[in-house]
Amino acid sequence: MTAHDVEPGKVHPGKPVTVDRYTVGARINHWITAASLILLALSGLALFHPSLFFLSGLFGGGQFTRFIHPWIGVLLFFSFFGLFIRFWKANLWKREDRAWLTRFRDVLANHEENAPEVGKYNAGQKFVFWAMSVLIVILISSGLVVWDQYFSAYTTIGQQRVALLIHAIAAVAIIGVWIIHFYSAFWVRGTIPAMTRGSVTGGWAWRHHRKWLRELVTKPGGRSGSKPAE
């Protein structure tokens, strides 16, 4: 198993070719994390700006929002930890990532063909992965400091003020990263089935992650069934 393909993946010949990208476990893990992050953003924004306090109504009022927000944070932390274990290897920085980044303008202009071939993740996806990882660690640690009900006695008020500011800034940053993540998945058509049904088309893999596709095809046992008769 190479570093580009940490998830067992198979290429299914056909018209079109389909390529396994995420296992059922990874997909469930992802959607638990996704739901937690969205609920955290909504409940957190309710407490962040007065004009968004109405969002607390989604959670049954201010008291319940205050109560549930940190618990969802704990869920997110452990859920994301699962994703981290699954995906960190494939997100290690590779030589081609730098070259890909120099062609980032071409990618944005829908001229991805000018960018070098990349493995399972491109530099943009790796940025999202590592930004999420770092920000979640910052958010859970600053969040525990300001979790008044259980942890207020362990820190000084001065430390709690620092934690609140860090928590707010990190939260804005992670929502920003989420916007990038969400938009990219929508803009690059054919991406979302990877996280819903678990597979993408061969064309999608060819266009966006050709190196990954090549590795899968040449890997022994990387194809399902026998070679189609010709």
Partner: protein, 316 residues
């Protein structure tokens, strides 16, 4: 002697202030009332305090809190700190004055200072959970409180406490309910030495003048009034014999102000944060409008099919 406030009448009295007199309301904007009520203040003359704790008792009684019977923690303070059931606390410090070699027993009645610029209210995320009336009283409205504890971080004096019973924040109300019907706070009513007096802020400043002159005549050259400008002045003021060293009085801050961290959090972070997110979403929308989706072409699919057919070789 400051004339004590008369006992209440037995007839109904219309409240002297209400929601119409709010000058600030947490997480909301209010239009300022046309007329500002006379600012009120409680003056605590530390030099007259005998440490009897009648104020604490009166506070418990009037506010109907039921603090548990405590244990002797080996200090004069009882309970050892402010609690959700103890809105005011006599704090005792023994200080050896290096100039006179006298041991001075400095007793300060701690509690909400009713800042003109309240840090608790600035930090509060729940609309209407903290209000400020035009007479200067800062009050917590418990049905709006969500129990997050942000007020604790906002307060420069470490006053609010969150109840573990109903998860809302508590502090001294300056007996807003008594003041509304022309009475003074319960603690002032109970004080046997008139160390606590209540009136308009102007009256209190004048009364303090006389007290400070008296203290200076008795050799307290640094006697003065504690009405810190960093929080816009307070509606609870102290007469201190050592006004140049307020820290002597169980850590009364010398130049209290809302922490710059809280100002940054509730100021620039709040506005810049939402702007950044709005711009990010806008850029995404614009990008999609201008560039359109990144679609897989038929050629891509054919290329992939050929690659699979040829065992990983591009050309047939």
């Amino acid at each position: 002697m400051f004339p004590p406030i008369a006992n209440p009448s037995v007839t109904d009295v219309t409240p002297r202030f209400s929601d119409k007199d709010l000058v600030r309301r947490s997480a909301s904007t209010v239009s300022a009332p046309a007329e500002r009520l006379a600012e009120v203040a409680k003056l605590i003359d530390v030099s007259k305090c005998i440490g009897c704790k009648a104020c604490q008792t009166a506070c418990i009684e009037w506010n109907d809190t039921h603090p548990a019977v405590g244990v002797n923690a080996g200090v004069y303070e009882n309970p050892p700190d402010l609690t959700p059931d103890m809105f005011t606390l006599m704090r005792f410090s023994e200080w050896e004055n290096p100039e006179t070699n006298n041991l001075e027993w400095l007793i300060r009645k701690d509690g909400c200072m009713h800042c003109e610029d309240p840090g608790c209210l600035k930090a509060c995320p729940a609309p209407g959970a903290i209000v400020q009336y035009s007479n200067g009283i800062v009050d917590f409205v418990h049905e709006n409180c969500i129990g997050c504890g942000y007020c604790i971080k906002g307060c420069p004096f470490n006053i609010p406490r969150i109840s573990r019973v109903d998860h809302t924040a508590y502090k001294c109300t300056l007996c807003s309910d008594r003041v509304a019907v022309g009475q003074g706070p319960a603690c002032a009513k109970a004080c046997p030495t008139q160390a606590i007096v209540f009136g308009t802020k102007e009256e209190m400043k004048q009364h303090a003048e006389g007290r400070i002159t008296d203290l200076k005549a008795r050799g307290y050259a640094n006697a003065g009034l504690y009405d810190p400008p960093g929080v816009g002045g307070t509606h609870v003021m102290y007469v201190l014999h050592h006004a140049d060293q307020p820290e002597l009085y169980s850590g009364l801050p010398k130049e209290p102000r809302i922490s710059p961290l809280v100002e940054a959090w509730k100021g620039i972070t709040k506005y810049a944060g939402l702007t950044v997110l709005g711009v990010a979403a806008g850029v995404g929308l614009l990008h999609h409008l201008v560039m359109g989706p990144n679609r897989v072409s038929d050629t891509d699919e054919e290329n992939a099919e050929r690659l699979v057919r040829n065992d990983g070789h591009d050309s047939a």
